[in-house]
Every structure is written in C-alpha cells, then in structure tokens.
Symmetry: C2
Subunit: 152 residues, 2 copies
C-alpha cells in the first residue's frame, strides 16, 4: 500500500469507471501494472465494490430517516441484526456505543411507508424502542475523503 495505490484508490473513488489506460496515465505506470495493482486492492479487501451512486428520488425513494434502536435487555443482538438485514429499506446499520445499540439509515418512498417500517421495527423481538429522525434534505452523502496520510 504505497503512494501509487493511494492515488489509484482516490481516482477510483472519484470515478469508478475510469479505464486502466487512463489510470495508468494519471499515476505514471503502464496499464498492465495498474491492472495488477487494482486487482490486488480488490482481492486484498481495500476496494470492496464499485457502485453507481443513484439519486434516490429518481427511483422513488424520497424519504430518508435515521432511526435509533434501544435493545431489550434480554434480546439476542444477532437475531435483531438478522431481522434488520431482511428489511431492504435499511441501507446502513451501525452498532453504536450508548443507550441506542443501533443506528439505522433507512430510505422509503413515502411517510406512510416509513410508518410501516417503524411499526415493523418496534414489533421486532429484541427491540425495546425506536427513535426516528427524518432528513429534510441530504446536503451530501458519502463524500470521498482526500487520502492524505500514507496509511501503514
């Protein structure tokens, strides 16, 4: 993981569809060399996936909510997680320090659907309570960070 790998990661964070030839030009190596490096970044787990970032409204998901979950004292965390995983509306799931064990980011089409989701969450065994905040607008999301430090 040297400076060139960092540049490659940074370039691909900015535009995942760059050709190997273009990447090669930008970092000053040949295309096969870049091909091999990117392959190693992928199989080494540094690059997990390449995704198109989609405007949620355009695919009928206009409502974003952030939901804190308080767990039942007796509940099994793994079961709760499994239940969350089966709800496709939950885009992100963080296990948190604090009273609320989980913080979920959910995306649905309408407030009515959000209501249904919250009901389902509250019914989930192991969930003691939920606290929902609605995002009025998303200023930005998943902005890539400049990769300053040459990480170990």
């Amino acid at each position: 993981m040297d400076a060139i790998d960092l540049s490659l990661v940074e370039l691909l964070q900015g535009n995942a569809r760059l050709s190997y030839a273009e990447l090669a030009r930008q970092v000053g190596l040949s295309a096969p060399a870049v091909h091999e490096r990117v392959g190693k970044l992928e199989s080494g787990g540094v690059v997990r996936a390449y995704r198109a970032e989609v405007e949620p409204e355009a695919i009928g998901l206009g409502v974003t909510a952030l939901i804190g979950i308080v767990e039942d004292s007796g509940g099994d965390t793994d079961d709760v997680l499994e239940a969350f995983r089966r709800m496709p509306e939950i885009e992100s799931c963080y296990f948190m320090a604090g009273v609320e064990s989980f913080l979920l980011k959910a995306r649905v089409g309408t407030i009515a659907e959000l209501e249904q989701l919250i009901v389902r969450l509250n019914r989930t065994p192991g969930v003691a309570s939920t606290r929902t905040g609605i995002a009025l607008s998303t200023k930005w999301e998943n902005r890539p960070q400049p990769l300053a430090r040459p990480a170990t």
Copy 2:
C-alpha cells in the same frame, strides 16, 4: 425511465465497472443502445457518480462517528453548512427535522482526531451544541435497494 433503465441502474449499483457490452447482454439490447440509455441516466441526474467503495480501515479511517448538531437561534444555516463542507472528515450531512438541525457522519483515524473534530464543530459560529455517538462497528453501509416499483 422504463423497466430496462431500472435494470441498468440496478446492475450498475451492483457493479459500476460492468462494460456496456456486458450490460447489453444482460438487458437484451445492443451495446450502443445501452450506451445511449446510460448516458441519458447520467445527464438526467439519475446516476450521479460511480465510486469505488473502500474499506475505511484500510485507508487509516478506523473511527466512525455520528454527530447531531443543535443550531444557535441566531446562526445562519448556510454559513454553518459552508463550515461543515470545509471539514473533509464529514462524509455525510443531513438537514434534519427536530431539535438537532444536522446529523453528520464523520470518519477519522483515531479518537484523538475525533476529539479535535468535535472541538472544531463546537467552535463553529452558529453551532450551539453537539452530541456524538461512536459506531463500534459498521454492520453494513449503503446497501443498494432492490428496485421494485417502476417509478414514474
């Protein structure tokens, strides 16, 4: 925005580096047709970007925090936003309903860096108070949703 466009979006959400030829095979059109459709999805703002999804730990960002911001009653929201935008650690920024006007997702290398970030946030004009929750682990993040409904 028909069923084929939806498939294209779904395919590109799963793997943004698919070739046009491969996309064409999957949706049953020719490559130029797919090329044109994807171009329209991009310029129409449906597809905003293609990004490589990177394991944050691998680039020295092991600490994820979610920070609620309460605004000063007198503060100018745009100025606050502008200040946030200049902090690269803030990956996402939502404008929320509720007491806390913003919810930020920040990613830093160490707890010490998080502390510095929180100090900077509290010093920012227009910010009355902050409330930080630390993510102990990320179960998943930015999982693409299946695109069921044929959105208008």
